[in-house]
């Protein structure tokens, strides 16, 4: 049960309330979105949608509801909600920068400069207006490089522009005019100025970024799962630095691409990440690609660790993040941003299936039905990437001690034979339940 509980109310049942992990007769859910997630929730056996004011066991909420209501909503032990209260520590561009900088300093103190360099996956970023002077200093040190100005809290590519001359920034500051409509923001918006990666890896002359999904079940201890599928999003036009004003070239967000004049909705401009991995393997060999993907694992883990102490790790919360990664020509991955509400609207049939499977497996892991033992290393398309420590690929479940060389339990871009795996996973548990 959730929502304004009265004292003395025993719940719908006369007897002792069901324990957290016991299977429930039916699960009442609420959903703030009307896209793929709603379809998935409605199709899930034993899950029932509740109306406006009804009590719920599970809420796929949006972040604005969270902001307004989380602090004064009572939730029973078993209740689950799809966001952490202060996820913005990870997802807002100015906060993640702060947290990463702090984390990096901590590592440097504890483990030395070499270890600290592993945190250098975020392009140099300065908060505006508070760090304006630091930014100008850095700008002057590196003349000629391109910078990108991004609003901290907006998504889908809105309000972003590129610049090379300080004059452009000064003009913009003076104007006080933001390029897009501001119907919901009345206060002054914060921006960040970020170093623009000028040598992105190109395929077919086009720039692309990678969207990867990471599910965090708790921060303390840190438990995170990595989804095998994801995609590469291509810019519809050829990459060149001479066209800084061309919004369409530089931003690979599908939302922006959709408004480009030569956008063909049938095309989709996306590659499944398996295809990307195969392409890279054919071009550079398996070892190089292994290294690249291991570096991406590093990005996921370090970014989560950097906010581990700041995020309120409420056990009711879990969160599915969409990570945006850019690869440069030296095959170094960079973190562009982390999304707490990755788009669940599908742009094509294939995309719809990916998101359906992603969400189904997310719900399997949340495990409202109480079917799992908690020792699984793989559920559907998700692999357990971090469980208060690195997880190894070696045979055996989570508790097995690790010997020999360590291979991380991540399979990004591998074959996702989730149906088979789920069948094997749930069959023995299903028979156990009846006992």
């Amino acid at each position: 049960m959730a929502k304004n509980k009265n004292a003395g109310h025993k719940g719908s049942y006369g007897y002792q309330k069901l324990k957290e992990r016991e299977p429930r007769a039916c699960i009442r859910f609420k959903c703030a979105l009307t896209n793929t997630i709603l379809d998935i929730l409605r199709q899930r056996p034993g899950w029932i949608e509740v109306k406006e004011e009804g009590e719920w066991d599970f809420y796929w909420c949006d972040v604005s509801w969270l902001r307004e209501n989380f602090d004064h909503t009572y939730m029973d032990e078993h209740v689950r909600i799809c966001h952490f209260r202060n996820h913005y520590e990870l997802t807002r561009k100015n906060y993640i920068v702060k947290n990463l900088k702090r984390f990096r300093k901590q590592i440097e103190r504890e483990a030395g400069k070499l270890e600290a360099r592993k945190c250098d996956f975020f392009p140099k970023t300065f908060e505006m207006p508070s760090e304006y002077h630091l930014f100008v200093e850095e700008f002057r040190k590196n003349p000629g490089i391109t910078w990108i100005m991004k609003p901290v809290a907006r998504s889908q590519g809105r309000g972003i522009f590129l610049f090379r001359k300080l004059k452009d920034v000064i003009d913009w500051r003076k104007d006080g005019v933001r390029t897009d409509d501001q119907k919901d923001e009345t206060q002054v918006e914060n921006y960040v100025a970020q170093c623009y990666i000028e040598n992105p890896y190109l395929i077919g002359g086009r720039k692309f970024d990678l969207r990867v999904y990471v599910l965090v079940m708790s921060y303390i201890p840190l438990k995170a799962w990595l989804y095998r599928d994801g995609f590469a999003r291509f810019s519809n036009t050829r990459f060149t630095l001479s066209s800084i004003d061309d919004h369409y070239v530089h931003l690979t967000n599908v939302a922006v691409q959709k408004t480009a004049p030569d956008y063909d909705p049938e095309k989709g401009c996306k590659w499944m990440i398996q295809r990307f991995r195969q392409y890279m393997t054919a071009k550079h060999g398996a070892e190089v690609v292994e290294t690249l993907f291991a570096e991406m694992d590093n990005i996921f883990i370090k970014s989560l660790q950097s906010v581990q102490k700041v995020i309120i790790s409420d056990k009711h919360c879990f969160e599915l993040y969409g990570y945006d990664i850019l690869i440069d020509q030296d095959l170094k991955p960079w973190l562009l941003e982390v999304n707490a509400s990755p788009s669940l609207t599908a742009s094509s049939q294939e995309d719809y299936e990916l998101k359906c499977c992603l969400l189904k497996d997310t719900l399997h892991i949340v495990d409202m039905e109480g079917r799992l033992t908690g020792k699984e290393k793989r559920i559907g398309g998700f692999d357990l990437m971090w469980n208060d420590g690195p997880v190894s690929r070696a045979e055996g479940n989570v508790d097995t001690p690790v010997n020999g060389s360590f291979m991380a339990n991540t399979h990004l871009g591998y074959n996702n034979d989730r149906k088979k795996q789920l069948k094997q996973l749930f069959k023995p548990l299903h028979t156990q339940q009846k006992v």
């Binding site: 395929i203 077919g204 002359g205 086009r206 291509f234 036009t237 050829r238 030569d262 063909d264 049938e266 095309k267 989709g268 401009c269 996306k270 590659w271 295809r275 195969q278 392409y279 393997t281 054919a282 071009k283 060999g285 398996a286 094509s348 294939e350 591998y414 074959n415 034979d417």
Partner: protein, 484 residues
Amino acid sequence: MPAVGQIPTPQATGNTNSPLEASQAALSLCRFPSPCHPAAPPEHMKEPLVYMRKAQGSWEKRILKSLNSMCTELSVPLARKRPIGEQKELLNKWNEMGTDEPDLSLFRPVYAPKDFLEVLMNLRNPNYENGDQPSLKNHLGLIQVPLKVKDIPELRDYFSELGLNTGQLGIDDSTQVPPELFENEHVRVGQTVLTEQDSAAAQQYVRQGCPTALRAELWALILNISNQPEDILYYEQLKSNVIQHDLLVDSLIYKDVKLTASNDDYYFVFEDYLYQVLLCFSRDTSVLEHFSYNSATPPKSYIRGKLGVEEYAVFYPPNGVIPFHGFSMYVAPLCFLYHEPSKLYQIFREMYVRFFFRLHSISSHPSGIVSLCLLFETLLQTHLPQLFYHLREIGAQPLRISFKWMVRAFSGYLATDQLLLLWDRILGYNSLEILAVLAAAVFAFRAVNLMEVTSLAAAEAVLADLSTLKVMPLLQIFLFATVT
């Protein structure tokens, strides 16, 4: 672990232990044109059967007529020298020709695969009297010429390395199979083959599939492409030909790329490379050499005003190959493997003059499209007679559906990684027959659903999406695990 009974014992072939040794054994050398009697006239090397030659000749006349009438209708010359301004512009845009959006609405592809199928259906051997109505005793399919095709026992022998007891990439490298069982050793052997630069061994090796990381080099080794400075120079020469002259076929190429590859979910990224390859290909006169063993003959055109005067005859297009709808799909999968334009170009050209040309010319060659169609229909009729009869009854002749797959060598129909595994075997066996076997295997796989359809459209729908198929298991089951 995989289910018991499915674990292959890792060995290359029968008795031999490695491709290097096997290559010394009977491996058919690839020689073009095939050796034949010294007194054989040149047209016999192109195509020994007269009626096939005649049919090819009339087909060519039709294509040319279509091209010429398009030319007249649109008042576009077959070839034209570009003004300097235009040349400069094209040179600047060479790496992004895909951004160009010329008005191509009036251009139509010269022909589509289904037009070609109609011609093949009407092929008849005048020496062969087949007065009987088609019945289950003779051939029920669309192709009515008596060519010899292999049956399943012969195919098993021919494709012995695809057998159940031999390791394969595409099966034995799946995540369930421990890599020590086959994959690791196979990769090691592949690296040895590359170090030795042994082309014959490579051809033997790829019969079991190429590891992704080694494929580009192995194919180059088999096709004898080394990208020497003179090759790069030759490619640059072709490029300058493109810059200087505009050909009518260029518009056909543009249109084809825009209609097919650009709309493909995966190949759209390589659009620019396709122009860079195909425009140069049209101008490559070295391709004319392959017409000595191709039943087709390059169309001739005459300099304006000198019609019929042989001294003013030129081949048109310069390489003699008129592209049809879907032609660019021969190149698209290669973009996955080769990124340097001149190397990509040479690989494609070699693949064309060794294999792809057979898919759109009328000949009696065992890898020619006519034989492939007949092989497909015979396999289906022999091993799935009920299905074949049912489809025929509802007006859904199987070849009508599978023809386009075979003409394109399945490019654009299969997922790329599966397609490359299939093309590994084309190179390994130096034959296109595997395309017909795969087509039959696909029908066998979806037989249950096909038995329930009641129209051609419904049959097409069942077979519309092949992107989830895994080719090697399908081929193995069809060839080696089906009761005959």
